[in-house]
Symmetry: C2
């Protein structure tokens, strides 16, 4: 099949991330889609150092892109609601599909844009507009489509969550952490959009509409920021077993729908209370699935680009009436599966937790640590405990990563020691990083 | 558009859940799909008390269903790999789309089944085969399609997680908790599939294939269960800051792919370590999105049915060449959006955390609690602390749920008290249940 041609408008954070993913993961993407996706043109006021644009048609006028007859899909990544709106409507008018990361545009003008898109028979995809790399739009719209959604609650602004996390973990004040967040680039020079909840309200507006099947109603969202939260509030909440998180909450009640963004105390036992730093997460309560949670990076060039490019792939699949162009059963085209070797377990490396019973006698520990050392196994931590009235005591050893083959050899040798009773219990350790 | 007709084979746990969702959420589903989905026939050896099958064509021979020319989509919910395989292949041969929740069937015979489906131009959807209600197949296959997946690690067997959670929280032994799990219906009379990791290995096989684009290779998955984990292991791991979880891990390395199911120590700081009881969760590390996690119910009639019916909806959308039959922008058909009222914030009910500064004087607390009581606000907890060298002290009150309107009135009255200094800090509290 012939390649799908995209035009990118805007080469800032999200634009550059999307560009680099389309370029660097082109092979993986083609294996998935069954045809290649190429960047036909870029419209940007200036270049971006992180992007190697050599050989790509670049224009300083973004409207060139939406008027380029070669282009199938326009990526609106300029932000804002004035020019962006005009750009998207022109693209739709020209029969092009649109992918956007623009939460303000969708929350404030989505009803008009979607009506126009439907009239023209094109798609406007906006996964990246909510919670960056987390595919929450797809999850709500398709993954949980059998449900009547009852409510959702999300940490959907990374800047705010970073500030509250620092306030909680380091007992710092709001102003102090905000200044650091600005220095780190997590917060804008004018932080109003993030800390006063407007950004979160844009995202909540979109989520609520998709959850309940209601028009976008940004202006009706109750919005309260985190700027008045004090270190003392955080400390008292902690004493009561609660974390303070800035949540967007949408709930269906008999009286109507609640749409609200505000600082919220939630029990520390909730997974959501343990979502820290710039990460985002959304809980969704469906009538049949019960509670669910999705977690991931809510911002950044590559995570947000991950959602932009996933949307491009979704749209690309629809650009043919060929029914075999569905999502493949195993994600990749059947003729593009790769025959990579599955490693035998002996070749796998991980840490190990060893629990054994030894004679409480001089030299035993030295023998065991020598066996480990001979097998290139280094120890991370160790627990040796007395056991009253017994000369058999437990010994727990936690090791750094090592090949299973080495560990097998070490365990055999340890079990052969006369001062080790019975077998050695072995459980693998993973750092998941 | 004319209704989509499904035939259900099997009316056990998942069959009954799927049946009840299709019936009870029919209106919501039609609003999403733009056409109705009707149950044309059920094939089941016996009825199920939880299903009102009045008026539905029921047969005792499941092969009647796959041979019924009226049926568009067959739901294979009988389980097992012998009859189920024959049933699915016959359905495909007859040109019917298939939705299945059968992890063993897909993990062991998926390559053959998908090849046949591709040959016949039909879809075989299997979201419910992995992690029940969590849309992890869709997340991996579509939501994260821009990524080169690096690794994934999941708690994908609820029975095993229930046992390990109980062992950890209540310092109980494996055998003891297994007996309870069997009594509660979480574990089968023969628990081998769950506790020895075979069920998890089936699911991991499927996830790995979708993550990396490799054929299904169940027989190469290293599988180790939790039956030899002791209460002592759990306690020592806890001392070192680790939880023991039964994980399925798939990782891409330079040498090849790791595919393994085994008990694993992970840091208690990981979200995954805080996934307890029968719940499931999967971490996926993509090269551009970074770490993600999805969490939800991994089993049960309705959660698993949630995934079965989501698949039915996905398939139903493909049953027409009409391009407007795409997933609607706002999840529901544009002409099916509802005009539900958005509640003003005064009408919203939640708990409140109040933080104020009061004179350390007799009667002040009585005045405040009386004001709360007059406004129908009941107190859940309270912190009053001395502050050395000052007669102004902090008072923190946490309330049960109450309408914002009442809280506004109470706060105005409290702030008017001469013994209350400055304003009352008010933060909302949510139990997310």
């Amino acid at each position: 099949m012939k390649p799908v041609k995209v035009g990118i408008c805007g080469l800032g954070t999200v634009g550059s991330g999307s560009f680099n993913i389309l370029l660097n993961n082109a092979e993986e993407i083609t294996r998935r889609v069954g045809r290649s996706i190429v960047i036909e043109q870029i419209g940007a006021r200036r270049d971006n150092d992180t992007c190697d644009i050599s050989g790509i048609n670049i224009t300083r006028d973004i409207f060139d892109v939406v008027n380029n007859p070669e282009i199938d899909i326009v990526l609106e990544l300029i932000g804002g609601t004035t020019i962006a709106k005009k750009l998207v409507l022109t693209a739709i008018e020209n029969g092009k599909h649109v992918v956007t990361a623009n939460k303000a545009l969708i929350a404030e003008h989505g009803n008009e844009i979607f009506a126009k898109a439907q009239e023209k028979g094109v798609m406007v995809a906006f996964e990246a507009a909510v919670a960056g790399g987390i595919p929450i739009i797809k999850t709500l719209r398709e993954g949980l489509s059998a449900n009547r959604i009852e409510w959702l609650a999300g940490i959907i602004n990374g800047t705010g969550n970073f500030i509250l996390t620092e306030m909680s973990e380091k007992k710092r004040n709001f102003d102090d952490v905000l200044a650091e967040a600005q220095a780190l680039g997590y917060a804008e020079a004018d932080p109003t959009f993030d800390v006063e909840g407007i950004d979160a309200a844009h995202k909540l507006t979109i989520l609520a509409s998709i959850a309940f099947g209601i028009p976008l109603q940004f202006e009706k969202t109750y919005t309260e920021g985190i700027s008045r939260i004090t270190a003392e509030d955080v400390a008292f909440a902690g004493q009561l077993g609660y974390a303070i998180k800035h949540l967007g909450i949408a709930r269906r009640t008999k009286q109507g729908i609640e749409l609200r963004v505000h600082p919220t105390l939630i029990s520390k036992k909730q997974l959501l209370a343990n979502v820290n730093g710039v990460m985002n997460a959304i809980m969704v309560q469906g009538d049949v699935v019960g509670p669910t949670l999705t977690y991931g990076a809510g911002a950044g060039a590559l995570p947000t680009g991950s959602s932009v490019v996933a949307d491009v792939i979704d749209v690309a699949r629809t650009l043919t009436a060929d029914p075999t162009n569905r999502v493949p059963h195993l994600a990749f085209q059947a003729n593009a599966l790769s025959d990579v070797e599955i490693l035998p377990v002996e070749e796998i490396e991980c840490g190990f937790f060893l629990n054994m019973t030894i004679q409480d006698r001089a030299g035993v520990l030295a023998n065991i640590t020598q066996i480990l050392s001979l097998n290139d196994i280094s120890i991370e931590s160790l627990i040796q405990q007395e056991r009253e009235g017994s000369d058999l005591v437990p010994l727990v050893v936690m090791t750094h990563d090592v090949k299973e083959r080495n560990m097998n050899a070490a365990i055999s040798a340890i079990e052969a020691l006369p001062d080790v009773a019975g077998t050695v219990q072995r459980i693998r350790v993973e750092n998941l990083a």
